[in-house]
Amino acid sequence: MKPKWLKIIASFFAIALIAAACGGSDSESSDSTSTSESATESTEEEVIESGTEAEGDVDTEVEEVVEESSYGGSLTIGLEAEATGLRPWEDSCSSPCLTMIGALFDTVTQIRADGTVGPWLATDWSANEDFTEWTFNLVEGVTFHNGKPFTAQTLVDMFPLQQVGAAAGGVVTAAALTEVIAVDETTVKYVLGSAHSAFPSFLVQPQLGAVFDPELASADFDGYSMNPVGTGAFMMEKRDLDNETVVVRNPNYWMADADGNQLPYLDSVNFRPIPDEGTRLDSLLSGTTQAMQTLRQGTIRDARAAKADGADIVLLEFQGNNVGGGMYNLNNPPLDDVRVRKALTQMNNQEATIEALGGTGISLPGTQWFSPDSPWYSEKVAAAWPKFDYEAGQALLKEYIDDPERSDGKAVGEKIEVELSCPPDPTLIAAVQVSEQLWTATGMVDVTLTNYDQQTHINYALGAPPDFQGSHSVHCWRWSNNLDPSTELNRQLAPHTLAVAAAYGLDGIFTPTNFFNYFDIEVFGALVKAIGTDVFEERYALYEMVMMKFATDLPVYYSGHTATLLALEAGIEGINGWVLPDGTFGGQGWSVPQLNQAFLTN
């Protein structure tokens, strides 16, 4: 006679094993085995469909919200990670942090879906003739969460903190911002040390544009990160680091919808950091969360597969102006020779790399820093970018290694050596292995693959002060954003050493973030010229010229554009199709949802 408790234990294991082995037909969509099978099938279908689409648009269309809005409800959002801090001027911020900061703070200006800058806390603005003074008119009657009024003086008082802020200091320098003056209660003037025709773009960025209570921030610098006070649609309710951050409706929010209903609609939002990509998606599919963000193409593929399997979710996908790939360190022979860079670029199969990244049919191949739906995108550059041509690449490389004057000092005919480095992410490693195999197969390249954590990876490229000459060789990287091209390009293409600057008569102009160590006076001149005019056609031509130089000088090579996803449970509206105060559509991308117009329909 077996004891009863033995039977209970045996039954438990039996149930668990049976449950593990079987899957109910009605719930197969959430079965990981079937998900994985369906993912394969569905992805294959998507590949075909998106293959045709790959040259076209894979972004979700921004559409007007047609559902009738309603108040109430709560939303739990799965974020990629915990925010390092919520002080916009001080803390380094990526997608998760930007999501929270966007709920708590308002920025002076805002980005539109078409990439232009539109109004937010500033209703309108104008510049003097040489773009060195910018005057902004501000919305009246805005108050902070603690009831204090927001005025032009607030922006003036914020400036000293921003000047020395770890996050804002660099933006202040990049914008050459020297002074902020309150003209009257609702008019503020920003004074720049040099012309910048795209200055309002800097005020979209939370580092410089997010409005915080300067008095409180000075009084409790560390504490502000845990209890931030902004003018945003939501107020901090609870900050439980690495677990959940709960924000609740700001009853005194200044913004109203088109019908005059006060925003926001939601009672509260719960941000939950879920670093593991699979668990984050599972949390959405199981209803533990109602929304999630991702920048991983593999997760986008899995989310698409889950939707195809019947999951009741909405996928908002965006490419944005961010492109991945690798950069060559021009200080590091043989990469100082354009023949080598061109050869390696031509022998890098972009489509195979994107496939290894899990991005086939999701990520568009990159040819420049702008995605095809960006106003700055150039067909001419796309056509000029070197295509995959293995034989041509081999011929160029042969020419280099047979050159008695080759720059790496090796003997004629000897293989070149490159170190190909990426952070230790499985998909990134798979992608660089594609390049490694192709380059090694020529018999002319010795490739060493290395992986370092993200920060070490960046540090290798950056080098050490005061010279900042990175020791990297070929380095995985991402470039660009949805803001004005000047915010990234002008910073990264300035002289990389003081000696280089001096050689071109640009004494003192130097940037540590020219990671490729590439400098071209023509390119630099074009970039300076581009911030001296606000005529779009002129600026477009100048940035096109810069990208054309990239296609010939090749300081970088591209894989694909960074696809991002916001996945939502069905019944959440207002995240796609949110509008600025002037009624124009707001910008999407980087999987950062704008929550002040979100509402639930169920």
């Binding site: 668990a16 804002a168 990160s225 680091l241 950091p273 879920i274 949390s283 533990t288 540590p512 973030t513």
Partner: protein, 318 residues
């Protein structure tokens, strides 16, 4: 005699902790690159004056050993420094997170004990039988499956399949009560419990097989006592000593072992903070948490050693 043992153990404990602290500090120090650069966003790197200001503020321009001894000196007073990235005191971060990690480790140990004891005892009692063979297969499988994989399986089974439990998040007892807390704790704890469960079930089984062959067990059987009574009252206790020791050692190990599980289940424990610290190159946080985990492990080991010395006079004499 016991005083000498205690003194010797304490000296060894201090030496080990000193070595751990030095090794942790130097290993983090050896990471390439400048920790200041981790604090700043790419845009902030253009401001060289700002970089130098922050370096001076954090006293990173001092020589390595000056910084080490300052850190150790402060640590001895309970001050593990402040995160370079978030400005949060490291001691506060540990204090906030240790309840989560500790609860997970204790719950995992409890689950492992509650299941290992009956499984081990019954396997020994039915040595070579179906149950014993089935459990042998189960423990082999449990030892072979990494905890994070078990976690992913549990999420699939109990969240996606049955929707019984949440896949992620942590309900604090103080906020939402014990039941809600257990809802979020049970899956990660069960994932962590698998390996100790398997090890201890095997240990108990092996010890008990020996115990069941002792004369006093045969004598109890001859007296006509019931099997269950003999098993639980006479055989289990002498067969549990090894397992109890191992449980104690495992508890120390589990605190470090929660690192991956906490990441899979997105729990606000020490492991999650350590991982994010590594990603952010948050030097003070990495050093502080590593030292803390190592200290717990070393102290638990020392306590177990002392327990042995108390229980077994032969060890005291050695």
């Amino acid at each position: 005699m016991f005083g000498k043992v205690l003194a010797a153990k304490t000296v060894r404990l201090i030496a080990t902790l000193f070595a751990v602290s030095l090794l942790t500090f130097l290993l983090v120090e050896q990471l390439p690159g400048d920790p200041i650069l981790a604090i700043l966003p790419p845009g902030g790197l253009d401001d060289l004056e700002n970089i130098e200001r922050i370096r001076k503020e954090l006293r990173l321009d001092d020589p390595v050993f000056t910084r080490y001894f300052r850190w150790v000196g402060n640590a001895l007073q309970g001050d593990l420094g402040k995160s370079y990235i978030t400005d949060q005191p490291v001691a506060d971060a540990i204090k906030d997170r240790i309840p989560v990690t500790m609860e997970l480790a204790l719950l995992a140990t409890l689950i492992a004990a509650l299941l290992a004891i009956p499984i081990g005892a019954l396997s020994a009692y039915r040595e070579g039988g179906y149950f014993d063979r089935a459990m042998s297969a189960f423990t082999t499988a449990a030892l072979s499956i990494p905890g994070f994989l078990a976690g992913i399986f549990f999420i699939w089974l109990f969240t996606l399949k049955f929707n019984w439990l949440p896949s992620t998040g942590w309900n604090r007892i103080s906020d939402k009560g014990l039941f809600a807390n257990l809802q979020t704790a049970i899956l990660p704890a069960a994932s962590l419990a698998l390996a100790p469960l398997a090890i201890n079930a095997r240990l108990i089984r092996a010890d008990m097989i020996g115990t069941l062959k002792e004369d006093y067990i045969l004598s109890a059987k001859a007296k006509g006592l019931r099997d269950r009574y003999i098993l639980m009252r006479h055989a289990l206790r002498p067969s549990s000593l090894t397992a109890i020791t191992v449980f104690a050692l495992q508890l120390g190990g589990l605190i470090g072992g929660t690192v991956v599980i906490e990441t899979v289940f997105a729990l606000p424990g020490l492991g999650t903070r350590l991982i994010s610290g590594i990603y952010q190159r948050d030097v003070m946080m990495i050093q502080g948490i590593t030292l803390f985990i190592a200290t717990v492990y070393v102290v638990v080991n020392a306590l177990v050693d002392l327990l042995y010395a108390i229980l077994d006079p032969r060890i005291r004499r050695q």
